[in-house]
Symmetry: D3
Subunit: 139 residues, 6 copies
């Protein structure tokens, strides 16, 4: 087994906010992340795939395929968007980094299985100081 | 003369959008940066001050003073905010990196002059790939 | 399970030195790290917590709580200090990166358990070229 | 158990190319990486060793020993070289990042075992966007 | 006047080598950079443009235009290529970082002038430890 | 004219402290940087040289020469040392980043002039958030 990782980036607006709470309750729980008029981040996304090396190519997975897949299923839907309002795969979900990492996993998992390897990890940086890692629902 | 720089960070939402243009015209000129529901960035701000070294302290300027000044006049007003809607010093101005660098200069210039040194440069990163430098209206 | 990481920083002096060895023996084993008058580093500390996502908040742990905990139990005691002389939790221990990572784990472990999640990893960079990871005494 | 990592760097030329394929087939499979006249990279290599802390020294492994070992067995053979043509341990192997990580493992594994600890991971960055991790043939 | 910078990247092979010198003379002057079978780098290119802010758009220059220009005139010609053999604008020139920065200036200067602003600086990193800045032949 | 920069690194202990002041006065002026038992940093040093390109070599200055010069005159004297106690060129000077940048300039200036080019800038990072630039006493 060997693990290969592709980094992509996106810039998006979001807020941490529950509609059925007051602004005050949201501020108490989520602090400045609940600003009603949104704020935003440059997100760094690392997608790790595990598998065996194809002896013909020396590859676990074609990185052009992986990069295109991430762009089509994640980046094109979320880059320069509002995570709470514009992104189909985040509809009715909290726009936290944890939940976003899970949702990105769901966008990519089955298409990578089809390549004879497996999605291993979604690592998502919200800022240089905060990041989340998700290894799937079985881990 | 010696130059000293302090880095601070803020996360904010914005869009590049002229209200008197149609969405289509905005999209044509500003591309994905005009998304009506906003997007956002982790901004990196570098503030450079020039002056002579105080022989008593070895300092050009007290960096605690400089950091506090930047926080009070810039970061507290813009961090986790919407640049177009929430920031007094950006009211009625385009929320481009260029204009934002000019506006941050105006927030800091006179207070630094009062310390016996001078503001030299505002360097503002919108992403790792794009940054602006502004040296004041006389340069 | 999902993993979330918070990065903090501290700047400290230290030396690698055994008092019951001669300066020559210390120099032989520890090289330039044994300089009697100390040297120092900008340490980068990454604290990783694992747990389940709270469906109300979308959080594994409140990062403000985690950041405050790290500051109170680690950063306030070690930042701008001498690791060998000034830090209670390093008393009578070698000031190596390995031992320091273990000691930071001990400072944080029980307080994180109290939050319904668990400390997973202490990752500590001494320089950009050297870092240590510690996953607790059971791993 | 504790894990310690040393970072080293090398700059090398390579191409992804099978001699028994046409240029067209190589271009189809490997894209611009198959350029007949080579291209190159600044590789970042992270070598992770796991073991117990020596209570005398506070070390898992002497990092000077580890750094010297990596330089002798890897860096001196590959830095400022052509991976396909000049490197003995890559002879007759595809010059992909995956295969190179495996080959670097083989160069280091037994010598680290002799130190009372074990090689845990070879992490190799080809660019800031692509990296591979290899944990040995038993993992 | 305000300055805006766009970062692009390319990966290329090269060697420092004078054909009319012996291998020994080349090795003496250029060291390991003269390896006959090439080596390579991940180059980071920063292109800085100076001008006035357009009050309609808040821009000095449209960064999509600038990025496309750099891609067409520089990146497409040099990325995943051999600088000595494959790049028309480096024909019969030493493949040093200094000369390459000058050559990239020549590729971009006139097209940027046509946008009502001016090329200010080419900053080119060969490695994280070495970079060159060129401000044009008049500076 | 073209500008070339070499980055080197050193790790050192220091404190900001005037012997003829009380600990209380030192604490008031220098804050936590005055800790009597020292603290330390990983310093990043960028040395920029300006000159014309030698048409034979494509070089402004031989970077091996420059790197060796910096190592002999700066790094070997300050790396893994105490700046206040161990460094001859900092004797009786405040160990601030500003003063240190000036002192490093003095260590390098005349030797670089002897190479037919000129020292242009010393840029010295104390942390990722603070750096100083010095262009010589005539600027």
């Amino acid at each position: 087994m060997i693990f290969i990782t592709r980094k992509e980036r996106f810039n998006a607006a979001h807020k941490l906010f529950k509609e059925d709470w007051t602004n005050e309750k949201n501020l108490e729980v989520f602090g400045k992340c609940s600003n009603p008029n949104w704020h935003g981040h440059n997100y760094d996304l690392f997608v790790t795939v595990k598998g065996r090396i194809n002896p013909e190519t020396g590859f676990v997975i074609d990185l052009k395929f992986l990069s295109t897949l991430i762009k089509e299923r994640v980046i094109d839907k979320i880059d320069h968007k509002n995570i709470n309002l514009d992104v189909d795969f985040m509809k009715d979900r909290m726009a936290s980094t944890e939940v976003l990492a899970e949702a990105i996993w769901e966008q990519l998992d089955s298409a990578i299985k089809g390549q004879g390897c497996a999605l291993h990890c979604i690592k998502l940086f919200e800022t240089e100081n905060n990041y989340v890692e998700y290894f799937g629902s079985e881990n």
